[in-house]
C-alpha cells in the first residue's frame, strides 16, 4: 500500500473494548502522543458518542464543529480537526477531532436510524482518503464506545488494525472472547489484545509475565500485544495527564511506546 512513491499509506487504528473503564481513552491519547513524539503525523478522533471524553483532556477552543457534524454531513472533516501540535511538545503533528458532549447531542446520536448509520459508515470509510491520504497522515486513531455500538462497529469496519483493550475481569475476558469471534473475525480484521490494569503481583517475574501472555493468547487465539500493569499513579492522575508528554520516564509511557512500535510490525 503506497501513498506516493516510497511513502507508506497511513493506518487506521481502532481502540475498542467489550466493557467500559478498560483504559481505551488513556491508551488512545497516549498512543497518539507517542506517534507524534516519534515525528509521525497523527490524528485522534473521539468516536464515543455515548460518553465523549477527549474534550476534558484536550480542552480545545479551536473548532466550532464536532465529529457529530461531520457524520451528519453538515461540514467537512477539516472543519472538525484541531491542530494540537503546539501543545503536544512533539516532533511530528497531532490533530484531534472531538465528539459533542452536550446532552442534546448524546440524545440525538442515540436516536439515529439505520439509514443514517449506513451513511455514517460511508463518511468514516472516506476518511481514509480525505484524512490519511490528502493530509498525508501516518496514523488515524479512533477511540470508540465499548461493546456493540453502531459507531464502534462502523469504526471497526473502516479499521486497518483493531486493538481490543481488556482487563483480567472474568466478564470482560469472556465478553472480549465472544466479540473477537462474533465481530472482528466476521470482518476479517487484523486484531490484537491489550491487557490493561493487570495487578503488578501477577507480573513480578519473567516466568509470570510469560504465563500471563500465554494464558490470554490461548483464551483469545489472538496475539497479546502488551500486558500493562495497574499503576496507582496512572489511576490517581484521573486522566488529567498525557503520560507520554508529561512523564516520559514513567513505566506506563514505556509500555505505550512499545505498543506503537509493535503495531508497525504487526
Amino acid at each position: 500500500m503506497l501513498r506516493n512513491e516510497g511513502t507508506k499509506m497511513g493506518k487506521i487504528i481502532v481502540i475498542h473494548s467489550y466493557k467500559g473503564g478498560t483504559g481505551k481513552t488513556l491508551l488512545s491519547v497516549n498512543m497518539a502522543a507517542a506517534y507524534a513524539k516519534m515525528g509521525k503525523r497523527v490524528c485522534l478522533l473521539d468516536l464515543d458518542f455515548r460518553a465523549p471524553s477527549l474534550q476534558s483532556i484536550f480542552k480545545l477552543n479551536g473548532s466550532k464543529y464536532w465529529l457529530n457534524d461531520y457524520l451528519n454531513g453538515s461540514c467537512e472533516i477539516g472543519k472538525v480537526l484541531v491542530d494540537y501540535t503546539p501543545e503536544c511538545e512533539c516532533n511530528g503533528s497531532m490533530y484531534v477531532g472531538l465528539a459533542n458532549p452536550a446532552i442534546e447531542a448524546l440524545r440525538d446520536m442515540s436516536a439515529k436510524d439505520r439509514k443514517w448509520e449506513m451513511r455514517a459508515l460511508g463518511r468514516l470509510l472516506s476518511l481514509k482518503n480525505t484524512v490519511l491520504n490528502d493530509m498525508e497522515l501516518d496514523y488515524l486513531i479512533y477511540d470508540t464506545s465499548p461493546g456493540l455500538q453502531y459507531s464502534s462497529i462502523n469504526a471497526i469496519v473502516s479499521a486497518d488494525v483493531v486493538l481490543v483493550v481488556s482487563t483480567i475481569d472474568r466478564s470482560d475476558v469472556e465478553g472480549t472472547k465472544r466479540m473477537v469471534h462474533e465481530l472482528y473475525d466476521l470482518f476479517e480484521k487484523k486484531t490484537a489484545i491489550l491487557m490493561n490494569k493487570v495487578p503488578i503481583e501477577f507480573l513480578s517475574t519473567q516466568l509470570e509475565r510469560d504465563s500471563v501472555y500465554k494464558r490470554f493468547e490461548n483464551t483469545h487465539t489472538l496475539p497479546v500485544l502488551k500486558v500493562i500493569p495497574c499503576y496507582c499513579d496512572v489511576l490517581r492522575s484521573g486522566g488529567s495527564k498525557i503520560f507520554v508528554r508529561d512523564e516520559p520516564e514513567h513505566a506506563f509511557t514505556k509500555h505505550v511506546n512499545d505498543i506503537t512500535l509493535k503495531i508497525d510490525n504487526f
Binding site: 439505520r114 449506513m118 469496519v157 466476521l186
Partner: protein
C-alpha cells in the same frame, strides 16, 4: 456478403465477447433468482432498510466480503470488487447481483460496464 465480413476480426471478436459478457450476467441473475425462489423468496417478504453494519453482520460470509468492498469503493464494477477481495470476477459478479436482488445494492450500466453501489 454480410457487412460485418468487411470489418476487422478483432472488432468482431470484441463484439462477441461483449455479448457473451452480457449473456453471462443474465445467466448469473437467472441462477440467483432460482436460488432465491428456493429460499422461499426472502427478497419480497423481508426487504432490508439499509446496508448498515448490523445488516453486514447478518449476511453470510461470502456476501459480507463483497458488501464491505462495495461500501469501501462506493461505486464499482465486479472487476474492481474482485481486485479487492482477491476472488474471481465471475464469482463477484454473482454475489453482487445477489445483493442487488436482495435490494441492498443498486446496479447501473454505463456503456458495457455494470456499476454497483449502495443507495444512500
Amino acid at each position: 456478403m454480410s457487412k460485418s465480413f468487411g470489418k476487422n476480426p478483432a472488432v468482431i471478436l470484441e463484439k462477441i465477447r461483449e455479448s457473451l459478457d452480457r449473456l453471462n450476467e443474465k445467466m448469473e441473475i437467472f441462477i440467483e433468482l432460482q436460488k432465491q425462489e428456493r429460499k422461499q423468496d426472502l427478497i419480497v417478504h423481508d426487504l432490508p432498510e439499509a446496508l448498515d453494519v448490523m445488516t453486514l453482520l447478518s449476511l453470510p460470509d461470502h456476501l459480507r466480503k463483497t458488501a464491505v468492498s462495495i461500501c469501501k469503493l462506493g461505486h464499482a464494477t465486479a472487476e474492481e470488487v474482485a481486485e479487492q477481495t482477491k476472488r474471481a470476477r465471475a464469482v463477484e459478479s454473482g454475489y453482487l447481483n445477489q445483493l442487488v436482488l436482495m435490494s441492498y445494492l443498486k446496479k447501473e450500466r454505463k456503456g458495457r460496464k455494470a456499476y454497483f453501489y449502495v443507495e444512500k
